[in-house]
Chain length 313, copies 2
Amino acid sequence: MKVLDCTLRDGGYYTNWDFDGELVQKYFSSFEKLPVDYLEIGYRSLPEKEYRGRFYYLPNFVIDEITQLSKNKLLAIMLNEKSVQPKNLDKILDGLAPVISLIRLAVDPKNFDSALLLGEAIRKRGFDVAFNLMYMSKYANDESFLGKLSSLNGLASYVNMVDSYGGMVPEQVKILIHNVKSYCREAIGFHPHNNMELAFANSLAAIDAGCEIVDTTVMGMGRGAGNLRTELLLTYMASKNKLELDFNVLASLIEAWMPLYRKYEWGTNLPYMFSGGNSLPQKDVMEWVSQRFYSYNCIIQALHNQKSGEADN
Amino acid sequence: MKVLDCTLRDGGYYTNWDFDGELVQKYFSSFEKLPVDYLEIGYRSLPEKEYRGRFYYLPNFVIDEITQLSKNKLLAIMLNEKSVQPKNLDKILDGLAPVISLIRLAVDPKNFDSALLLGEAIRKRGFDVAFNLMYMSKYANDESFLGKLSSLNGLASYVNMVDSYGGMVPEQVKILIHNVKSYCREAIGFHPHNNMELAFANSLAAIDAGCEIVDTTVMGMGRGAGNLRTELLLTYMASKNKLELDFNVLASLIEAWMPLYRKYEWGTNLPYMFSGGNSLPQKDVMEWVSQRFYSYNCIIQALHNQKSGEADN
C-alpha cells in the first residue's frame, strides 16, 4: 500500500499556493524520514489573471529548489485536465523531467475522452500518468462510464477515485472500487474528503477492497472540509506494525503546521456536512465559510436552495 | 434507531461540569425541536473532595430547573458504578423519580457482578437501567465475559458498548455487536470515541449490525478526543430522509456552542491518535494535551513508555 501526500497542492486552496520558505524546508526534511511514497508538490498551470502562489505554477526555479530538498521521495504534480490543451503540453511540462516522475490529471468524467488523449501525450513524453477521476460517487454503477476505464490499461500508473463531495460511506467505496477493478487492471487509488468525518474509514474500506494508493495531507489540510490526515493513516499503520514510524519527526512536523491551522481552520463543520450528505459542490461552501461573515444558518439556507435548484438570494 | 445526547455529562470533563446558564437554556430549548430521544444531563455523585460543577452532582434544584426547560425529551443520568455502593442508592437517587427515566451505569467489565446487583437495585426502584460497558475492544471475543451478558436480559433497557480507547475499526465493531447479540436480547447501544476519526464510521457499522441507540454530543464535546458529533449523525440521517431536521435550530445551537469549543478545543490530535491506535487510556493524554505545555513529542514519548510498561520521566 502506497501513500501520496498532497499537502502543498491541496492545502494550497487555503494559502493561495504560497507557503513560507522555512515551512517548506521543514515539510521536505520531515518527509525524507517518513514512510510515504510520493509527494505531490503542486499544480503546473499556464499564467492566469488572478494572483496564485508558486505551488500553483511551479516555475522551474522552484522545481530546482525542491529537488535540493527532497532526495528520497517520488515527486508528483497535478494538472487540471480541463485547462490544459495538448498543444500547450510541451510548455507546461518543460523542465519537469526527470525529477517529476508522476503527472496526475484531475479529470471530470464528462471529459474522459479528452483526458485520455492528454494522458497518452504525457505518457509519450516519458512520465508516469495518474487519472484522478472526480465525482465518482455519481458513477459507481454507471457501466457506460466504467467501461471506458479499460482504455486506461497499459497507460495509467494509477487510477484514483475522488470522493469529491465527501459524501460517500465505506460500503459505497467498497462497491465502487470493486466495480472499477472489473474494468481496470491498473493500480486503483483513493482521494477522500472529510465532510462527514469518513475520510479515514472510507480509505480503510478502499484499501480493503484492493486500492493500492491513498492520498493524504498534513493535518488533513485541503480544499473545503479537507482530506485524510497523513498523521492518522501513518499512526494507524504503525500501530498495526505495518510500517516503522519516527514519531519525533511526525510530531515536530505537525507542530510546525499548527500556525497554518490556527490561521485557516480547515476541517469539517455543519455546512460541509450538509454539502457532503447532499452531494453539493464545496467550492461555494468554502468561500462562505472562510469569510466568517455568514452564519451557518445562512449558508445552509443557500445550500438548501442549491439542492432544490433555486437561485440564492 | 434512537439517539442519546450526553453533552452535559461527557462534555463536563472539559468544563468541570459547569455550563453557563444561558447556554444550558439554549441547549434544552434547541433539543426540544431536534430529533433525539434522550438527553443525559450529567452524573449523580456523592460529595467529593475536589470541586465539581452542578452537572456532576445534579442536586434536586437543578433537576427541577431542567424539568422546566425540557418538556418532550426523555432524561437520563449516569452513575459511576465503581463509586456507588447499594447502601447509598436511596440517597443518590433521591428526587430523580419520575422525571429521570433512565439511569445509566458506567461499568468496568471487571466489576460486572457488582454492577449487576446495583442495576437490579435501581430497576426495583422503578427506573429503566442501562449498562455502559467500557473497554469493550478487549472483550469482543471473550466468551467468558460475553456469557455474563445474558444476565442482563429482562433487566437492562440498553446494553451499550463503549469504545473507551477510540481504537476500534468498523469491522471490529460489527463483530463485537454481533457477538454480544448472541447472548443479550436487550437493545444494544454504542458509545464511540473519535481518536482515529472513526466515531461516525463505527456508529454506522454498529447500526448496520443491529445496534439500536447511539450516544452523541454537540460538536463531539467529550472526554479526550471526544465523541460522535450530534450534528453529523442528524445531518446524515436527514440526507437519507430518515428524519425531519430543522437546520436553523441545529445551526444556531452549534454557533452557541462555538465559544466553548474555542476555549477548550476538544477533538483528536496526534497524541490521541497514538493512544487510540495502541489502546492506551486517555485520561493522562487529556491532562497533558489540555495543559498546552508539553510538546506532542514529549507526550508521545510518555505514551510510548506506558505502552512498554516503563515509568515516565
